[in-house]
Amino acid sequence: MLSAYTDVVIFFLAGAGFVLLTLAIGRLLRPHNPYPEKLVPYECGEIPVGEGQVPYNIRYYIFALLFVVFDVEVVFLFPWAVVLRELGMYAYVLMVIFLVMLVDGLVYAWRKGVLRWV
């Protein structure tokens, strides 16, 4: 059973073939001469202190959480948007109620200062 998505896969495989071929050719052509000083992570010429994977701001995590909420909601909106014309006003009102609840979440986060970066 072939579907249009099979074509996507074919394209994907063709792309994969191209990328791997490029890397393979590069491997044959390029020099390989590592020594310890060269393999040090770049820090403007200084010797790096500590690990590369430093602790980072917790705000990134909070934004990721907020993102998940809204992204899942958008998934519900896609099928609704496509058939809205047939469903008409009833579906519109229902979805507005759903949206109000979600916007409420955004307003709450906003008021709590979660969206403030500093």
Binding site: D7, F12, G15, R30, P31, G52, Y92, M95, W117
Partner: protein, 327 residues
């Protein structure tokens, strides 16, 4: 659905075409930036600097590939490949023109035409974030990690506005198939019905591919090169390739969703119209880079969550009311 071999031939032609455009675009961008800055850009390699992309490609091939000592080698090698894969894969569903007839066979000018075409494109666009954040994480370098974290937060923030603004187009067209969306615009382009949606989509698109003024993930004046700091040679070139392919696919999406796709006055064939529109949008990308300064990170996040997101909500509700009332 096509025959397998047609899809394969189409895929190969498309990939070669995309890479040719990518090579050409690196030169055009440097030339245009040069003229914007009252310089001349590359001139030494060939007439008008035309051989510059070839020189760049040779350099990418023969440069040593340095992998930092502490790096997670497997993920480090995987990340640029993911970036290029996803940037290429967006193009599998993008139609460049109406179907043509060659030798009694109707051949669509797109590799795949699934019912959820626009969703596939959107999905692959957002997968780009894996390449970026894995690259930053695996490099075991502070600059890379900071760049990757910024990229992750920025991309997810603007992806929301992007997805919300595109909903208006889906409502008006009543379909997710890109060819149907173009067909729905045969009378009036969606940019006139969705001006706010168009602006949000384009701004979010610029942020998604991390171009000026939203290029904080690689902000060269503060983070060296952000997530790609530790990359060299071909792998670095792959991140560049992903960025340019991303720019091209955002331009193509804007053309298809808002600018009537391949429709236009009859003196040019449809495919030419499509290419002209995409080229114009790519010029806008370069123009933005020459005009704007990089935004500050807190302003970037503020703009994304407090301006773009509420506006796209509003655009969604108003458009939906219009469609539900006057359908």
């Amino acid at each position: 659905m096509n025959d397998l071999w047609i899809s394969l031939v189409q895929s190969l032609i498309l990939i070669v075409a995309l890479l040719t455009v990518f090579a050409g675009m690196t030169l055009v961008e440097r030339k245009l930036l040069g003229y914007f800055h009252l310089r001349v850009g590359p001139t030494r390699t060939g007439p008008w600097g035309l051989a510059q992309p070839i020189a760049d490609a040779i350099k990418a091939f023969v440069k040593e590939d340095v992998i930092p000592a502490g790096a997670d080698k497997f993920v480090f090698r995987l990340a640029p490949v993911i970036s290029v894969f996803t940037a290429l894969a967006v193009w599998s569903v993008i139609p460049v023109g109406p179907p043509v007839e060659i030798g009694g066979r109707v051949i669509p000018l797109q590799v795949a035409d699934p019912a959820g075409g626009a969703l596939v494109a959107l999905a692959f666009t957002s997968l780009h974030i894996y390449g970026v954040s894995l690259a930053g994480w695996a490099s075991q370098s502070k600059y890379s990690l900071l760049g990757a974290m910024r990229a992750a937060a920025q991309l997810i923030s603007y992806e929301l506005s992007m997805a919300m603004s595109i909903l208006g187009v889906f409502m008006l067209a009543g379909s997710l198939r890109l060819a149907d969306i173009v067909a729905a615009q045969s009378d009036v382009a969606f940019i006139w019905l969705q001006p706010v949606g168009f602006l949000i989509f384009f701004i979010a698109g610029v942020a998604e591919v991390a171009r000026m003024p939203f290029d904080l993930p690689e902000a060269e004046t503060e983070l060296v090169a952000g997530y790609s700091t530790e990359y060299s040679g071909m792998r670095f070139a792959m991140f560049m390739m992903a960025e340019y392919l991303g720019m091209m696919s955002v331009s193509a999406m804007v053309t298809l969703l808002y600018l009537k796709g391949w429709h236009g006055p009859a003196f040019l064939p449809p495919v030419a119209w499509f290419l002209v529109k995409v080229a114009a949008l790519l010029f806008v990308f370069i123009w933005l880079r020459a005009t704007f300064v990089r935004v500050r990170y807190d302003r970037l996040m503020d703009f994304g969550w407090k301006v773009m997101l509420p506006l796209s909500f509003l655009n969604l509700v108003v458009t939906a009311a219009g469609v539900a009332l006057w359908g």
